[in-house]
């Protein structure tokens, strides 16, 4: 019966939306026709009728949460008593928070750059070997795996058993096979951050590669040939012709991954839950918001810091987008 219910709900939902547009449009024509002598086509109300649903959804699911988060960050753990900037003061002095800021920076520097670099390199090289398509498929596949799923896979890669036991983690197994000592990789402070970043890179390089492949195809062959006749080596062509051609794409990929990285959460939660110095802002926020009774004040404060990190990139992106439109 659930399937039948599902169909019914879909039909009801779709017809409700349709009737809204049809009826509102009809009512608009009727009222405007009655009270105004102007041409119906020129009505300034009509656009609002059609935009209203989207605007309301935006208001409810975007503006309201943001303003509520800002409000909560100035209140106590239950959101009842106004406490001024005490949550912010706490954050500045909290060692976990500082560690998270630092780690987020580390992620920001390493992951987008590595993904972009690897994606571009692989996309360029894959077109020159016969097994390129196969390699690209293999590199693209992790895209289909969720961050949590990927973390489970990599947990097994990094798995540690005491020396003398059989190593079931492939990394330690290889090291022991060649006579080395096994390590608990994800518990080694500082470096464990990089072991977690590898997971994100593993997933996101595929995206970068696919987009770069398409962009590379769009470079006119004759321009590259002209450069070859001008005497440019392949390396020079890559840096002086291809990279400038791809600059737009590089920026798009780099910012997309940057925003993703700012929100990194699942990987850290699944791998270490922020232990051993791997804490990041999103996981810290989740921790304060929902664990140990919950503290909506501190949780919201941390959430705002994440937003603060994303906003400049968003603004920059929007500006670039607008500039492109105007060109």
């Amino acid at each position: 019966m659930t399937f039948f219910n599902f169909i019914v709900y879909v039909v009801i939902g779709v017809s409700a939306v349709l009737s809204y547009f049809v009826l509102a449009n009809w009512a608009h024509d009727y009222l405007v026709g009655k009270f105004s002598k102007k041409n119906l086509q020129d009505s300034i109300f009509r656009p609002w009728i059609f935009m209203a649903p989207a605007l309301i959804i935006l208001l409810v699911y975007l503006i309201y949460p943001v303003s509520e988060t800002i409000r909560l960050s100035f209140f106590d753990n239950y959101g009842r008593e106004f406490t001024g900037v005490s949550n912010y003061v706490w954050a500045m002095n909290d060692s976990d928070f500082r560690q998270s800021i630092l780690n987020n920076f580390l992620w920001l520097i390493v992951v987008p750059t590595t993904c972009t670099f690897l994606g571009l390199t692989i996309a360029t090289l894959a077109d020159r070997v016969w097994w390129g398509v196969f390699a690209k498929t293999l590199i693209f596949m992790p895209m289909a795996i969720s961050f949590v799923g990927a973390s489970v896979i990599w947990k097994f890669v990094y798995e540690y058993r005491g020396a003398g036991n059989d190593q079931i983690g492939i990394l330690n197994a290889i090291i022991v096979y060649f006579g080395g000592d096994p390590h608990a990789w994800i518990a080694i402070p500082f470096w464990n951050n990089f072991f977690l970043m590898v997971i994100m890179i593993w997933i996101q390089t595929g995206l970068a590669m696919v987009i770069f492949s398409a962009a590379l195809r769009a470079i006119p062959e004759e321009t590259l040939e002209a450069a070859r006749i001008d005497g440019a080596s392949e390396v020079r062509i890559f840096f002086y012709i291809i990279i400038p051609f791809l600059s737009e794409t590089i920026v798009v990929i780099w910012t997309t991954i940057t925003i993703l990285v700012l929100k990194v959460f699942d990987i850290v939660l699944a791998m270490t839950n922020g232990q051993w110095g791997t804490e990041v802002l999103a996981n810290l926020m989740f921790d304060w918001m929902f664990r140990g009774g919950g503290d909506s004040g501190r949780g919201s404060t941390i959430a705002l810091f994440i937003m603060l990190g994303v906003i400049p990139i968003m603004i920059w992106n929007l500006r670039r987008f607008k500039m492109e439109q105007e060109r």
């Binding site: 321009t223 040939e225 070859r228 006749i229 440019a232 400038p244």
Partner: protein, 358 residues
């Protein structure tokens, strides 16, 4: 002296034999035009000279060195592409200086070469612009400028004017011819447009399906086409073709059937043709005369009159393609008139059923 010598050149794309045993000498400082319909292999030959396309068999020599295995930059050539192929993110100056910087020339040398080229092409005030800010004609000048600055022995042009509008094309045609005089370089020019070939070339090479159909000076090809293809390709409007039969043959002359109206005597005689053989008569529009002379003539009805001012083209109804006749600009002939057309006996070409000249 020959600058470029091509011997038994072959090129396959898969099973597709696109260049079939082409041999060709291109004289030093000549302006040679490769012309032919789309897909006949002109670009492929040019790209093999440039080193952008591998050669399956045969040799290409430039300046007496076999260059088969040399990379483009070592062949002392420059190429101008139909799409201009400018570097979009570089200024005009840098577009022209790119190759020179790679050659590691001094800043002064680069400056002087770029400014010289810009001056020749009248693009001095555009040097700081990006290609996007230029018109099609200006972009083409930059592309030519980029080739000039490198001072190559050989210039290769692949349909450089096809993307320009008609007026600009005529203007650039003149300028390219002028440039050739100024630079004393060897130029190889590819086009599908026979007018470009006729107006610019010292030597025209007509290609047909990967083979050289005929080569020679423009007027040589115009007056003495060796086969039906060249006859039809060179000249505008096209040469008229009339399918016919040999009625009678003697040692001095051939008599053929002229569009079923009467027999027509040609002074040429050939040994290997017999009475009854199928042949094609070719004659250019300007070698047909509107006259009262009834000898070697034919009557037809006019169905289109094209007035160009300098001349008038009359299209006469006949089986198959219409017969085109050129007459003077102020002709009074109207659509629907029936006129008598005299054939100039000395300007008729006879092609046999293999499309070769008799």
């Amino acid at each position: 002296m020959s600058e470029i010598v091509i011997k038994n050149l072959n090129k396959y794309y898969g099973k597709n034999h696109v260049i079939q045993d082409v041999s060709l000498n291109i004289d030093s400082q000549s302006f040679t035009v490769l012309v032919g319909p789309s897909g006949c292999g002109k670009s492929t030959i040019l790209r093999m000279i440039a080193g952008l396309e591998r050669i399956n068999s045969g040799t290409i020599s430039i300046d007496e060195n076999i260059v088969n295995d040399l990379s483009p930059k070592d062949r002392n050539i420059a190429m101008v592409f139909q799409s201009y192929a400018l570097y979009p993110h570089m200024t005009v100056y840098n577009n022209m200086a790119f190759g020179l910087k790679i050659e590691k020339l001094t800043k002064d040398e680069i400056d002087s070469r770029v400014y010289d080229a810009a001056k020749i092409l009248q693009i001095e005030e555009l040097l700081q612009r990006k290609p996007k800010q230029l018109s099609g004609g200006q972009r083409q000048r930059v592309a030519i400028g980029r080739a000039i600055t490198r001072k190559p022995k050989v210039f290769l042009f692949d349909e450089p004017l096809s993307n320009l509008d008609a007026a600009l094309r005529v203007q650039m045609r003149v300028e390219l011819a002028k440039l050739h005089d100024q630079l004393d370089a060897t130029m190889v020019y590819v086009t599908h447009d026979q007018t470009e070939a006729m107006t610019m070339a010292d030597k025209i090479v007509v290609l047909d399906q990967g083979k050289i159909s005929q080569s020679g000076s423009p007027l040589d090809l115009y007056h003495n086409p060796k086969n039906l293809f060249v006859g039809g390709f060179i000249g505008s409007p096209k040469m008229n073709f009339i399918k016919t039969k040999i009625l009678k043959k003697s040692s001095q002359s051939i008599s053929i059937d002229l569009l079923g109206q009467k027999s027509f005597i040609l002074k040429k005689a050939s040994t290997n043709l017999k009475t009854g053989d199928e042949v094609t008569l070719g004659i250019r529009p300007e070698h047909l005369k509107v006259s009262k002379d009834l000898k070697n003539s034919w009557k037809g009805k006019v169905f289109v009159v094209e007035k160009l001012g300098s001349g008038t083209f009359l299209y006469l109804e006949k089986e198959g393609e219409p017969l085109v006749v050129e007459t003077d600009g102020d002709s009074k002939i109207k659509v629907g008139d029936t006129i008598n057309v005299a054939f100039d006996q000395n300007k008729c070409h006879l092609f046999n059923s293999n499309k070769g000249l008799i």
